[in-house]
Symmetry: C2
Subunit: 483 residues, 2 copies
């Protein structure tokens, strides 16, 4: 049982983590608050991380046959209302344009919270026969969902994302597509962001408004709360029917296409901070670090500056030519110690210090941000050494995060046990679950939700009673407190 | 003097050109109309052109020290009202969000028509001293300006652009920046889009709402009308003062930074069509062509298909490996002739035809889209031949466009002469100009405007009377009918 004292400790920890998160976002100049409630500015350093994420995802989506397009920002309110579950899910979050060009509009337009409706309206013009399928579209865009409680990157009214929208001739093809994208996302988040994910599907009440099934990836943040990292939906024929999109199949029979949608967002920048960050600030995985290496020249007197400059420039060029993203910090109004702190705060994976003695010894000091270990490396082999260390940092950040997940994953057979596990160790708790609305409500009272039902049938199989109501369970699943 | 019959002919030509333009946009699947008045969908083929434009501009902006960021879509209405000229210019074009999350907002928010105001509000937090300058920001974003008459790409309510915003310690630095960007744009449009531009600055009444001076690039479309291709503004201290952005200079004195803003938009896709297109459709310059080469295999019987396939694949791989964007059209439900027309419509610079006889002769036919010339090329030297031809197409499209501009540039000393020149040859007419409001009104009655005052002082110098009022002219400038 949770005592009041325990709850206070928990709340205190939550508050401290939350404060650390906001401080890190602001001090590392990733984002800033604006005068517009719930909206943030993504500052250059934060945006550079997003661009590296975009490059990877965009390349992988194109390699799997998807094409980028751009659909309108403003959507007629009546479109949102065509799919029953969709409007129920999104109506409370809409921003509505009522006036344009100085006049009241005859029909209000909503700022897109997502683009299914406007895209299906177009597909009804573009799709005639099976030859036009599959349609594999993606869009990089801003979307807006009016949120009460916001936090930079994690939950803001406006955010940036890619939204994929595809249409297929059969249910099977659509389901394959939704799972293909899930795998693509998992590779992206694990390999590039160095964040372990738990894959699965959502329960009825947690799935996307209008979807047949929603596949999800869940990760644990540094406070042992889960974060939904991205979702991929099999929409069935729901939107095709709502927007009367039909096609002639190979037999000349008219049918509704089966479709999917899927997205990852700037929220992932928040995940990077919360998974890898420490008391000194960010720790960025090299693959999404705007600067992978920062060179800090060490000098006091001008003659020392003149002495180190050629070597600093040589190292910078050698690394730059080898494809390493490198920054040299020549600022003269701050000390080397200030610079060390500054770049540690910003999470640059490697720091190279070059002083007058290093010029004499033809070697430099390389400091790792993740372990804070320092090594001496001869200048002659600097490129290989940096590549090796960058790979080591990338691997170590993933390994550290994986250990954290392992330490914060447990299972529970009874309600009391579940309540305890949600606090200690926190994180993911595996339970038998009946899949009823009532049990989800009971779970919500514990500030927890079902995060994912395993995709693997054996893993999801249950023979025991529901941890909540004791009736026969439908499956084993993972529950957690979450963002 | 223009007779009524002449006006009818002119109107007829305008209408035909306009119809050809829209037909080309729709048939080549660059864009489509949507249910939202004034908004378009940019379809994958059109968006791929935009991505190639983005890549070039983004790379050049980063190489000149600019950083990308992202500012909010929604801006408080009161912000827009802070700079007097700015609100006057943009107020009639605003889309206004009055409701969010089911409630009426206490202050309406506008969908950004441009982002100066929200950015300056942030700069007032970020800039403290001369050490924080220059600020060199860029944003890739959607913007919205309520337009009465719209046309895909050329003028739509919502469009995509990059908007640069910079702040500097001195007027001179800001002016240099505005001109640096103008040169960057000119290189982009001439070298990549193969479109000649006329550079200059705008008159008082044509400049950006809130700018000290606006630099512009003007090009002639295929109907001899001018199109503004992009602008770069020296904003002076107008926005700094309106948003109380100040900095401590080197002497410890508080001052307002000097700033610039500049943009190019998806309108440039419209320019590509109107400058290079012909009766068969698009003619894309190779540097911004999503596919630079399309391979059309020729076969009737299955055995012929089997025979040509290995060579088609070899050529595709060789070109792909050499960095050529290449597409193979294996569709079996349409004829080679249909494919030829289809890819000509889409403006692919080179078509390679490969049939059974080509396999025997180890050579292929390459057809140029621009001149429609065909050449035979041995397979062994295909990569070099394609590179040479792509460069030739790029150069030829620019040369053709430059000849068109030369044939549609004239000068006029009297009002009657000007009115005649505006119709025959049309295009740019150079005149002496007094720079008065009244003369601009008289010019507007001829459906023309001052497009640009030359940047070169000697070119702009005038000793004659104003072509309109006869008073001493302030400068020589270029007038034209325009989009």
């Amino acid at each position: 049982m949770t005592t009041e004292a325990e709850t206070d400790v928990q709340d205190g920890r939550d508050e401290a983590f939350s404060k650390w998160y906001i401080d890190t976002v602001l001090k590392a100049e990733l984002a800033d608050y604006t005068a517009v409630r719930g909206s943030m500015v993504i500052r250059p350093y934060g945006y550079a991380i997003w661009e590296l994420m975009q490059q990877y995802v965009d390349r992988e989506l194109k390699a799997t046959g998807h094409q980028n397009a751009y659909f309108p920002l403003l959507i007629p309110l009546s479109f949102i209302q065509k799919e029953a579950e969709h409007v129920e899910g999104f109506a409370p979050q809409l921003a509505v344009v009522t006036h344009g060009g100085g006049e009241e509009l005859t029909e209000p337009l909503v700022v897109r919270p997502t683009s299914e409706t406007i895209i299906y309206d177009m597909l009804s013009k573009w799709i005639e026969s099976y030859r036009d399928l599959p349609v594999l579209l993606n869009q990089w865009a801003n979307v807006l969902r009016w949120e009460i409680r916001t936090r930079p990157f994690l939950r803001t009214a406006e955010f940036l994302w890619q939204e994929g929208h595809t249409a297929h001739a059969t249910f099977e093809e659509a389901d394959e597509e939704a799972l293909l994208i899930l795998k693509l996302y998992v590779r992206f988040i694990q390999d590039e962001l160095a964040i372990p994910v738990y894959q699965g599907r959502k329960t009825e009440s947690e799935k996307f408004a209008g979807a047949l099934s929603t596949f999800t990836m869940e990760s644990l943040m540094g406070d042992a709360k889960a974060l939904q990292m991205g979702t991929s939906h099999n929409l069935g024929q729901n939107f095709s029917k709502a927007f009367d999109v039909t096609f002639l199949d190979r037999e000349g029979k008219r049918d509704y296409p089966w479709s999917t949608s899927w997205a990852v967002t700037t929220r992932l920048i928040g995940a990077l901070i919360m998974v890898h960050g420490d008391a000194k600030g960010l720790r960025l995985p090299p693959r999404v670090a705007p600067y992978q290496v920062v060179i800090v020249p060490i000098w006091r007197k001008d003659e020392d500056r003149d002495k180190v400059e050629p070597l600093v420039e040589d190292v910078r060029h050698a690394l730059g030519d080898a494809g390493v993203r490198v920054k040299t910090d020549w600022r003269d109004q701050v000390t080397p110690g200030f610079k060390f702190n500054d770049w540690e705060l910003r999470g640059v994976p490697l720091r190279i210090e070059i002083g007058p003695r290093d010029v004499d010894s033809e070697s430099v000091v390389i400091a790792r941000r993740d372990t804070r270990e320092k090594t001496h490396a001869p200048v002659s082999g600097i490129v290989d050494e940096v590549h090796t260390l960058l790979e080591a940092v990338q691997a170590n950040l993933f390994a550290e995060a994986a250990r954290y997940v392992a330490a914060h994953t447990s299972s529970a057979d009874t309600w009391d046990e579940l309540r305890e596990r949600l606090i200690d160790p926190g994180g993911f708790v595996t339970v038998n679950w009946c899949d009823s609305k009532e049990c989800e409500i009971a779970l919500a009272a514990e500030k927890a939700t079902v995060r994912a039902i395993p995709l693997d049938d054996r893993e999801a199989a249950s023979s025991g009673p529901c941890v909540c109501c004791g009736r026969p369970a439908s499956f084993r699943c993972v529950v957690a407190r979450s963002y």
